[in-house]
């Protein structure tokens, strides 16, 4: 099944750490450029938008782990927590950049934005929803919550949809970039709908022996 050469098990931990390190590079680099006055034009907005875009990218990557395994037999499950947490950190930084750098802690303006502007309301909702997922992204919580963990983490579907919508509604004209993320998220969510049927078909065709229950548990 596996198309790619298998990564030796002893490197798994290191590869996850590497993913975290690489994942923060866009934020660190952009912050450096912005803080030293090297981002052109509206530096704060550029930084804010970059953080939001990377949050969306990591959300898409998180949701892609399951279909990649289903379709190509490549198991990158070990990276999913890191990708999800990177998405959370970018959402958090996106919000902090908005609150601190952009609005300069003008709370009445921030509250008015959240209440009055649908795209900010949606973005804030996604931010609030991703917090419990980040807090329970540890082995202890998985053990402790059992099946409820799976249910809770299905929230990521809502978060990703809200994120893509937030992106599309934030711009004056929905362009190819917004369409790309809406399409990606829609396809990834659609996969969850057809997945059980696909796995059953695949099992009947290839004599795939693993139980659906086991794969579903991992999919979350």
């Amino acid at each position: 099944m596996t198309i790619l050469p298998t990564l030796p098990k002893r490197l798994h931990g290191a590869s996850v750490s590497m993913l975290y390190a690489l994942g923060f590079i866009p934020a660190v680099f952009a912050f450096y450029l912005g803080a030293t006055g090297q981002l052109p034009g509206n530096a704060i907005k550029e930084f804010e938008h970059l953080l939001g875009l990377w949050a969306l990218r990591f959300l898409v990557a998180t949701l892609a782990i399951t279909p990649i395994r289903d379709l190509f037999g490549v198991n990158w499950l070990r990276y999913r927590r890191a990708l999800g947490l990177l998405a959370f950190y970018y959402v958090l930084m996106h919000f902090l950049a908005y609150m601190v750098l952009d609005q300069m802690l003008r709370f009445p303006a921030i509250i008015a934005d959240i209440a009055r502007r649908p795209f900010i309301t949606i973005g804030m909702t996604a931010f609030v929803l991703i917090i419990p997922l980040a807090l329970t992204s540890n082995n202890w919580s998985i053990r402790r919550l059992g099946q409820r963990w799976n249910k809770l983490h299905k929230l990521v579907y809502v978060i990703a949809a809200a994120g893509a919508l937030h992106f599309a509604m934030a711009v004056k004209v929905v362009g190819p970039e917004q369409m790309l993320y809406i399409t990606l998220v829609a396809m990834l969510l659609l996969w969850r709908v057809v997945r059980t049927r696909f796995l059953r078909w695949k099992r009947s065709r290839t004599g795939f022996t693993r139980s659906i229950a086991a794969t579903e548990k991992a999919a979350g």
């Binding site: 912005g34 803080a35 034009g41 704060i44 907005k45 300069m104 934005d113 934030a170």
Partner: protein, 313 residues
């Protein structure tokens, strides 16, 4: 072993940005066999103008920001797209056709436009996206051009159109086109005749760079930036309100008047405050209160006396 040191480069040896940005235009022209010994005036050249009384105490937005952070969807929707994608745009030769309800319809060539008495005027520019700049424009009052064509008594509005050149403006070709072309804008005739309204042909002492609307654009500093239509090829005087691109695209978001008004929010942005571009980087105190009519209320508020500015946003 001695460690390698990067040699210091004298400032005088660093290639000016304009030279290497020009390279793309040069290569395109050379490849097409159009190179005639001297690049076209696609990029800004020096332009003389007299000083004017229109000055501001506020610091100018650096030229780098004015010419690299633009909304000009004909070249793409990203802020950096106009500077990156306008290299092959040819702002010369150029004519502006003025017609409609006028006594003397005619065309103005670029040299005729540049022959108007040019002044340097520093204006605040407030984008509807809640950012702003201070820009030293070079231009002449729109009224001076209107006088030459003698508007008829029936003329009530002025309509403007941007050039359509899909071959030179990548935003105007392909599958995804953000707006309907040509980009159109309009003013009431009394707004158009207001002394603050100018046709700009330059900034920072040079002719307009392509990304800023070369060779001629409208500047109405008390209105949101999208009213400042760029690369104008047609001006028509009309009796009825002319169609305006953003107003047609989203009438609930962009009104015909589009006067800067901190009390009337855009659905997606509060208009109460603005970020001044190129000031303070990340940590300067660069969010400031937006002023009614962008700080030009004393001059222009009387144009709207008795009007409900909430309804006529």
């Amino acid at each position: 072993m001695p460690s390698y040191r990067v040699p210091r480069i004298a400032a005088s040896e660093i290639t000016p940005e304009r030279c290497f940005i020009d390279r793309r235009a040069f290569m395109a022209a050379a490849a097409g066999g159009l190179f005639l010994g001297g690049t076209t005036s696609g990029h800004a050249g020096p332009l003389k103008a007299s000083a004017s009384a229109y000055k501001l105490d506020e610091p100018m937005t650096p030229e780098k920001d004015v010419t690299s952070y633009n909304n000009f969807y004909e070249f793409g929707t990203g802020k950096g797209d106009p500077a990156a994608n306008s290299g092959s745009f040819k702002p010369s030769p150029w004519t502006v056709k003025v017609d409609g309800l006028v006594g003397k319809p005619r065309e103005f060539g670029l040299d005729e436009l540049l022959a108007f008495p040019l002044e340097e005027r520093s204006y605040r520019m407030r984008c509807v996206e809640a950012w702003s700049m201070v820009i030293p424009w070079i231009g002449f009052p729109l009224a001076a051009l209107l006088d030459k064509v003698e508007p008829l008594g029936s003329a009530k509005y002025v309509a403007f159109e941007t050039v359509v050149r899909p071959d030179e403006m990548p935003g105007q070709s392909g599958y995804f086109q953000p707006l309907e072309w040509p980009y159109r804008e309009g003013l009431r005739l009394d707004e158009a005749r207001h002394p603050l309204a100018i046709l700009s042909v330059g900034l920072y002492g040079k002719t307009l760079p392509n990304q800023n609307g070369a060779p001629i654009r409208l500047v109405v500093p008390w209105k949101y930036g999208f009213k400042g239509i760029k690369s104008i090829v047609k001006i028509s005087l009309t009796e009825t309100p002319p169609p305006c691109t953003w107003n047609l695209t989203a009438p609930n978001e962009y009104g015909f008047y589009a006067n800067v008004n901190p009390a009337v929010d855009h659905p997606r942005w509060s208009q109460a405050t603005e970020i001044r571009v190129g000031e303070g980087g990340f940590f300067g105190s660069n969010r400031r209160d937006t002023l009614p009519f962008n700080g030009y209320a004393d001059e222009v508020a009387s144009l709207y006396a008795g009007m409900d500015l909430n309804a006529n946003f």
